[in-house]
Structure formats: C-alpha cells, structure tokens
C-alpha cells in the first residue's frame, strides 16, 4: 500500500511546482530562489521523514484518533481542526488558480466562477468517498497522466527554443540567501505528507514506507525544471512578463507531427485532472480531520447518511472557495497564496513536531 504514499506526495509536488509556486520563485529569482531549492527539499525531506516514521508507530490510526487518545480535548481539537482547515485551504487555493488558468486559456468565453462552481461540486463528491476509493482513483489517474507530463517536461528540456545561456546566467545568483517567501514556497512543495494523517488508517501497520529519499530528490528535480525551463524559454527578464509562467512556457512548445499542434491544450487538460485529484485528496483529508476533530469516525461502509457530516463540511468550504474566487483577482490571489505559504510552513512544522512528541511519549494512564 505504501506506493499510494508516493502517488499523493508526487501529485502534491506537481501541483505546487506547476500551479502555485513558480510565481514566487520567479519574483525572487535574483534574491535567492536557487538556494531555496537546496534548503527547501532538505527541510521538506526532514519533515516527511519525521512525520512518516512517527505515524508508522500508530497502527492504522489517523491523526484524529491519535490526538484524541493522547491529548486533552483543549489541545487535540485545535490541532486536528487546524490541520484539517489547512488542508482545505491548500485545495481551495489550487482550484482558484486553476479556474483562472482554465478560463484564460481554455474556455475564454466562460466566467471563471462558473468553472469554479463545477470544480467545487465535483471535488465535494470526490472528497466524501472513502479513503480507499480516493486512493484507487488517484492511482489510476496518476498512471494515466503523469507519464504524459514527464514526456512534456523532457520535450521542453530538449527543445530548440530552450536557451541554456539564460540558465547559466541565473546560476550566478545561486549563493544569495533566500527570502522567507521563496523558502516557504520551496518547502511547501513537500506539504503532501500531511495527507498521511488520514491515509495512515488504510496503510498496513507492519510495513514502513521505503525509498523515502526519492521524495526530496524528485522534488528538487521538479523545482529546478519548473524554474529553469521557463527562464530558458523566456529569458531571465522575460519571465517577468507572464502571470502563469509555466502555462506560457508550455504554450511555446510545439509538437511537429501531432494532430494537436499546441501542446498547451493537452497540458492544461492534464493539469486540470491532476488538480481534481489533488483537491480531492486535500479536501478528503480536510473533511476527515475536521469531522474527526469532533469525534466522528469513518464508518465501515460509506453511505449517503454516514457521509453527511463530511459532505456538509465540504459544501461549506466549497461555498467559501467560490466566494473567495469571486473576490480575488490575479494580483491579490498571488499575494494571498504567497502569504498563505509563508504562514503554512511554521504551522506544518508545529504539527509535525507535535506528532513526533506524541509518538515518543508513553500513553498517559
């Protein structure tokens, strides 16, 4: 089962590196973005390692059960509730970004809010499924989509328009101390491990998750790609002219012999379905954590009645997402997501620290 861990980790890394993070890194490209690629995976790797190892001591239990067991209610409630809300916000953020991109490039006649409403409804339907259903569908979509994305990446890497001189120029700015926002953006790429607080229930207890070193390695490569390919295509200063750097970069790819000439169309559809999976996971985790904070445990067999509290939470957050999407424009959205990542990193560290402590403590009498 531990392969599922890598699925949702890498889905989360993909979404962050292509949807949310690049803008922050592009803004900070002369101010230590590159060094943050080295520090970020290091911090992220340590957090992933600490979180998986301490959760593996709790057999088949999620964060709500662990917190309820070992902490007084005054502490466990804010911890679990906070973790759940963070997961919800991460998913909602991704949807608002995605709705803006899709309405800009794919459905220009359609208002982003109509799209956002569709996305949110489907995500709610996905999030209230059982954890296993979420993992199974994640696996299928992962296996279908990710190879295509990798092909696109490689295609971009060897494209003639890729100018490696700009990349070399950027390397001059390697040893600049990173700013908080670019560091937190680089670290947030690895935030997918938070999903383990729910999916730990479905993992068999006796098996440790192996090959954890893959995660910082892959994350590092993805971050470098998502940073240097746009710079290679647009030039060191040119990247500043685009809002969604990655999408504009992929729009410059051209497949000569494909029926579909502009690669960006395929890319956007894959991005959309990967975002569906990402938000389904985050909202599922959010719903389980928020309801779990109020001692509602997942039933053996899911039916509409047993999933009603989760659905209610998801619908509330969904309405919130649509309203937030209507309030934001692109400038405020990027500011908000950068601000959000800035405060999310210490919160993540706090939660991981709490769980590590809980796993070390003996069960209170």
């Amino acid at each position: 089962m531990s392969r599922y861990f890598f699925y949702f980790m890498s889905i989360s890394m993909l979404i962050h590196t292509i949807l949310i993070v690049p803008r922050d890194h592009m803004n900070a490209r002369y101010d230590g973005a590159i060094l943050s690629f080295l520090i970020g995976p290091a911090i992220g790797g340590v957090l992933v390692y600490a979180y998986t190892r301490s959760l593996s001591k709790f057999k088949g239990k999620g964060l709500p059960e662990i917190a309820a067991e070992r902490l007084p209610k005054a502490l466990s409630l804010p911890l679990v509730l906070g973790a759940g809300l963070m997961s919800f916000i991460a998913g909602g953020m991704a949807w608002i970004h995605c709705a803006f991109i899709i309405s800009k490039y794919l459905n220009p006649d359609m208002s982003p809010y109509a799209l956002l409403i569709l996305f949110v409804i489907v995500t709610c339907a996905g999030a209230v499924q059982t954890s296993k259903t979420v993992l199974f569908s994640t696996e299928i979509i992962y296996i279908v989509c990710v190879p295509l994305l990798v092909v696109l990446l490689i295609h971009g890497l060897f494209s003639k328009s890729m100018n490696y001189d700009s990349v070399k120029v950027m390397l001059d700015y390697t040893w600049v101390m990173p700013s908080w926002s670019s560091l937190s953006a680089a670290t947030n790429t690895f935030a997918g491990y938070m999903a383990l607080s729910v999916f730990n229930r479905t993992f068999p207890a006796d098996k440790q998750i192996k090959h954890l070193w893959l995660i910082p390695a892959v994350g590092l490569i993805l971050e470098l790609f998502s940073f240097f390919i746009p710079i290679g295509f647009h030039g060191t200063d040119g990247v500043d002219d685009y809002i969604y750097t990655w999408v504009s970069t992929v729009d410059a790819f051209r497949m000569k012999y494909l029926l579909i000439e502009r690669v960006v169309s395929i890319y956007l559809l894959i991005l959309l379905v990967v975002t569906y999976v990402f938000t389904m996971i985050t909202w599922h985790v959010g719903a389980e954590l928020v309801t779990g904070a109020f001692r509602i445990r997942p039933p053996k067999k899911a039916s509409l009645r047993t999933q009603l509290p989760r659905l209610a939470v998801c619908v509330l957050i969904g309405i919130g997402t649509v309203i937030a999407g209507a309030r934001f424009d692109e400038t405020t959205l990027f500011k908000a997501s950068s601000f959000w990542m800035g405060i999310r990193m210490p919160l993540d560290v706090l939660i991981v620290f709490a769980v590590v402590l809980l796993s070390r403590w003996r069960l209170k009498a």
Binding site: I102, L106, N107, M110, L115, L118, F119, V122, A125, G126, Q129, T130, K132, T133, F136, S137, E139, I140, I141, I143, L259, I260, E261, R262, S265, L269, L272, V273, Y276, V277, M280, A302
Partner: protein, 440 residues
C-alpha cells in the same frame, strides 16, 4: 371405505386440469396416486410405482417397495406436499402417510452454441437451460473434491431453483456470507433471468454491472478456479460470477488461450475502443463548438468545411446520429431474425449517405457515429457494453456546457464512481490488484 381427503392433503391444487388422481386398491385396502401429468414421466411411473404396486400383496408391502425406489421421500400433507407435486413428484397417499417419488420428465435441454461471447478457437458450447445439466457441465470441467454445490430457491412465486457453486479451498468466506445475506433479502415475485438476479443482488441503481453474467462454461470454470462464487439459475443458459471487477468485463476468454504478445495488443484495442465509444461524440461537440483551435489549422478547417451545410449547433447533429445508431442497434436486437436484415439495410442507407447529402449532418459526424458503434461492439460482455452506451450521454451534456473541461470532469467522475463501487467487498476499479495468474 372412506375416500381420501384430497383437499386436506394437497390444498389448492384440486382444480388443476393436469392433476391426475387415481385410486389403487389392494384387497379392500386402497391408496391414492396423485401426480401432475404435465410434469411427470408416465413411462417412469409405470416402471416404478405401478410395477411395485403390481408386485405387492398388501398395503404395507407396497409402502416398503415404494421406499426402495430412488428419489423416495415421506412428506407432510399440506404445503409441503403441494411443493413436491409442483416439482414433478408423484404422491402416493396412504391413510397415515404421504410418499413422494421423484418422477419428473428428463430435461430435453441440451447445451446451446455459445452465441453471446464467440471466440475462434476454444470451447464452442454454452450452458443449457436446465440447471442439472449445467451443474453437470461444471462438475465435468472442474472435477475437484473441493467443489461445493448448494441449492436454494429464489422468487416468492416462481420458486426458481438456484445453484450456488464454489471451490471451498479458494473461496473468500466473506463473499459467501454477504451473498447469503443479500439472497435472503430478495423479495421479487418472479425471477427468470440471470441478469435479473445479478441486478437484485447488487444495488438497483448502479450504472456498472458488479456481477459478471456469461454463457461460457470455460469462463465460469476459470472464475471458479480463481475463487469466485458461481450462481446458476434454472431456465437460463447463463452463469453469474461473483465478485466481478471492471477489468473482467473487458477480458475475452481468448486472452487466456493465446500467447500474451498476441493478445495484449488486442486487449489494448478493447480498452481504446471503450474509451472511444464513451468520449468521441463528446469530443466532437467540444472540438467543434468550444475549442476548434486545438487541432492544427488544416484539420480544424477540414472539420469546419464538412459542417458547412449543417444549419445547427454540433450537439444536434450528435444527438441525431447517436439516436439513429442506437435505435438501429436496438431494432436489430428486438426484431425477429427474418426482418432484422431489412432494418440494417434501411438504416445503413440513411446513416451512410442520405443524411449527409441532405445537409442534416456533416460527413465527419457519420464517421464518428459509426466508429462509436463499432468500438462499442468490441466490449466482450454485453452488460458492460450497455453501461458504456449509456455513459456517453452525460459526457455529451457536460461537453455541451463546458467543452473539453466538461469531458475531463466527466471522465474523472466516471473513474471516481467506478472506484467507489465494491463488488461483494472487492474494489471494482483498482490497478495491480494482484489476481492469481496461476489459473492462466
């Protein structure tokens, strides 16, 4: 001598036209023979009961001789006796007891040709319509001491007999438990078809089938060896295989019989076919009405050019052509075989040329309609091909409103829905489920 009280012995059956009731007398003592002439074998009655009667000297002797006949049982009067009569038993009424002797006519049902899932080189015969023959077929093909056969009845009125077969060493006991529970909940009056049993066993409002209905004994035996539970319903030449997952419905038996390198591409073809038949009409709507810029310019102009004569939006075209192809498929299933060829000829004329020349649909739409139909036919199991036929319409509606985004959403929902199904506790759509390959 007091006459037998038939009313008390077999309540409700007195007025049946085919009820034969004869008094047999031995030295002042009498017994009554009752049977349904439509169900019982008269030759057999003659050679068993009448023979015994002729040889016996008194009533007690007759009773002893009857008890030596195979298929002899003592029953209570009332409903139990009526049930026996209705199953082709002959009853001999003694003053103090009722003896039932099995004398049903031998079934005339023979194995039929396998028509639902044809394969080129492999077993060619299907099941028969008789449950005993079917059990016999499976017993011969799977001579294992672990094979268990249990009988039960289903349908409050039809009382159709149902055989439950499984390999005791391989079956998952949870599946059996759940099957028992669900069988006991069925309260349908008349049950006559395997697909009906499958529907009654699973949720009525599922889109995708979660039990596999097949007429191939070899597929049934393969499933048996994989630890699945087989249901055989009397009166249908089909078996129901439980649990069944999504991938089972796209497997042909030939995949097992041929070299993998020959069959893998064909398997891939089937999956591609299933994808095409589901998404192609929706993709057409999305490409024509929403995102013509997706294709390279020549292709986009080509499509637009072929639509030049069409006076309405693309989804009218799609619905018109899909309605015609679906109606044609439906007509060729329902029509008597002799008229069936007429339907295809007439339909082919309309679909082929006339609709396009009249400017009602574009020529590309005709290609799409026919490829949708053909791709649908490559799905080996009929229930799944029905499901896929239905599933393409929500996709078209999503494409009408949201274009390509809608299609991706629809596919995501389909995957999610299929992954959320469980067939008797087994995940319906799960990759790498690690099914035993030894049986292949």
């Amino acid at each position: 001598m007091k006459p037998f009280d038939l009313h008390a012995a077999i309540p409700g059956l007195m007025h049946s036209g085919d009820l034969v009731s004869r008094g047999l007398n031995i030295d002042e003592e009498s017994v009554q023979l009752v049977y349904l002439s439509s169900l019982c074998d008269k030759q057999y009655l003659q050679s068993s009961i009448m023979q015994a009667f002729g040889d016996s000297s008194d009533r007690a002797d007759f009773k002893n001789r009857l008890s030596l006949i195979p298929g002899y049982e003592q029953v209570q009067s009332g409903d139990a006796a009526v049930q026996k009569l209705l199953r082709g038993y002959a009853l001999v009424l003694f003053p103090d007891a009722i003896c039932a002797i099995e004398s049903a006519k031998a079934s005339t049902s023979k194995p039929l040709d396998a028509t639902m899932e044809s394969i080129l080189q492999g077993p060619q015969y299907a099941f028969s319509e008789d449950i005993a023959t079917n059990v016999q077929i499976i017993r011969t093909r799977y001579p294992s001491k672990e094979l268990r056969v249990e009988y039960s009845v289903i349908g409050t009125v039809s009382q159709t007999s149902l055989a439950i077969l499984y390999d005791a060493s391989k079956v998952d006991p949870d599946v059996l438990l759940e099957l028992d529970e669900r069988l006991s909940k069925i309260d349908a009056e008349v049950v006559q078809a395997s697909n009906q049993v499958q529907m009654l066993l699973t949720d009525r409002y599922h889109l995708l089938p979660t039990g596999l209905v097949t007429d191939r004994p070899d597929r049934t035996v393969l499933n048996l060896s994989q630890g699945k539970v087989i249901l055989l319903l009397n009166g249908t030449p089909f078996s129901i295989n439980l649990p069944a997952v999504f991938f089972d419905f796209l497997d042909s038996m030939e995949d097992v019989y041929q070299y993998p390198w020959l069959m893998r591409p064909l398997q891939a073809l089937r999956y591609i076919g299933a994808c095409i038949t589901m998404t192609l009409p929706a993709l057409y709507v999305a490409f024509v009405s929403y995102n013509p810029e997706f294709f390279r310019a020549q292709l986009a102009i080509e499509i637009a050019g072929s639509r030049a004569a069409v006076p309405y939006a693309s989804y009218y075209e799609v619905f018109l052509m899909l309605f015609l192809t679906e109606a044609l498929t439906e007509a060729s299933i329902r029509l008597p075989k002799h008229i069936g060829s007429t339907a295809t000829t007439v339909g082919g004329l309309i679909l082929g040329e006339a609709a396009q020349q009249a400017g009602l649909v574009s020529s590309i739409m005709i290609i799409i309609a026919s490829s949708v139909a053909i791709s649908n036919f490559v799905i080996p199991i009929n229930t799944m091909s029905y499901a896929v036929r239905v599933a393409k319409f929500p996709l078209i509606i999503l494409a009408m409103y949201f274009g390509l985004v809608g299609i991706v959403t629809g596919i995501f929902c389909f995957v999610l829905y299929a992954a959320s199904l469980r067939s008797f506790g087994k995940p319906y759509l799960k990759l790498f489920s690690g099914e035993a390959k030894r049986s292949r």
